[in-house]
Subunit: 190 residues, 2 copies
DNA sequence: CGCGACGTTGATTTGCCTCAACGATTGTGG
DNA sequence: CCACAATCGTTGAGGCAAATCAACGTCGCG
């Protein structure tokens, strides 16, 4: 069970056995039922979560009272509200389980301690953050340069199989259009 | 001149005199004329640039042969094509000076060395990256939840004075609409 | 069984783009 | 120093993609 995280880290940095144990000591397991919340508005995000099994969404409620999904997380992804985590401010977001989930939780304070004990772990999280940043820059590029239809086709190609795991209205929200429009897209050709 | 970077770092981590000197030794000065390029497609982004004075844009040319600006950088911001830098792949972007610029250049290889010598600098860049990620997540939120008009008003409120530094068509590109539309917005009420 | 959640489909509206023409300003070569 | 081109902004007319509003079908679950 812990091996999944361990393997993921090994893809980017090499830890000694001692260092692995330091990490393991700081990590907690957590399970969520479907539709259960990991974070709700008003609470400060307490740390980082690593998805062992399951699927979550990060979203907020916009001015028009619609849910706007900004991120999904599946197996071997980290998720947190970094805006809240970094600035120690109350979150404005929900993080919710779409499926039953098994997670690892790394509390923010433990993480800072860890970085001093094991600088290589800071390197690992630095790389994760760079990847996340690059991904969101790419996403901004796609938003501005592709039509909604192109973006949908592109997403399906990029994450085949994922569409079966989430309701269509969530996918529509993530892609930035209405469920009705997505339904029409699928009717055209699929 | 170097003090500007030094002060910026001090806002996040505290360096000893020795550590500051290690950093200074790795950094190069660079100046750009207006419209000069810092990076062009096909070249691997060689490192990070810190803007001492001036203003730059990062953009790429999309399928419809329009320039799509994804980032601006002004005084005390870092800029680079992280997609290229992180994956060591040829860039698909241009980074161009909008005004005459004074920059500091931190080559990628020097940066990795520095991180080993001075872990606190890795912490600093980790924080920068987190901030950049949060900013781009917020931007995605704005794109999906505000009309083009609202986004323009919001941007002007957030960076008053900046609109005088860049041509309108660049601002329109960054905000994701046409120069004509921006012109109409300004005509309405300003 | 009946209710709520989710998806589909049709009719209408609208925000923004496209195409096009025209000023104003800046820059450049003769 | 002027003439001309290039760049940038403005304005008008027409078109289209996607939203909105609304009704209906279907599945799963208490």
């Amino acid at each position: 069970m812990y091996t999944q995280l361990s393997e993921h880290i090994r893809r980017f940095v090499t830890l000694t056995v001692d260092e692995e144990q330091l990490l393991q000591a700081k990590i907690q397991s957590k399970t969520l039922k479907k539709k259960e919340f990991l974070l709700q508005p008003g609470k400060v995000c307490p740390g980082n979560y690593f998805v062992v099994k399951g699927c979550l969404r990060l979203y907020f409620v916009n001015d028009k009272l619609n849910e706007q999904i900004t991120q999904f997380a599946i197996e071997s992804w980290w998720i947190a509200d970094y805006d809240s985590l970094l600035n120690k401010q109350p979150s404005q977001c929900y993080i919710q389980a779409i499926e039953p989930c098994e997670l690892f939780f790394l509390p923010a304070m433990h993480q800072t301690e860890l970085f001093e004990q094991v600088p290589k772990l800071q390197t690992y999280f630095y790389i994760m953050m760079q990847k996340a940043f690059v991904a969101s820059q790419r996403r901004i590029g796609f938003i501005f340069n592709q039509s909604d239809e192109e973006r949908y086709r592109h997403f399906v190609k990029l994450f085949p199989g994922f569409i079966q795991r989430v309701p269509q209205y969530m996918l529509a929200s993530y892609l930035g259009f209405t469920p009705q429009f997505l339904s029409r897209l699928r009717a055209k050709k699929d």
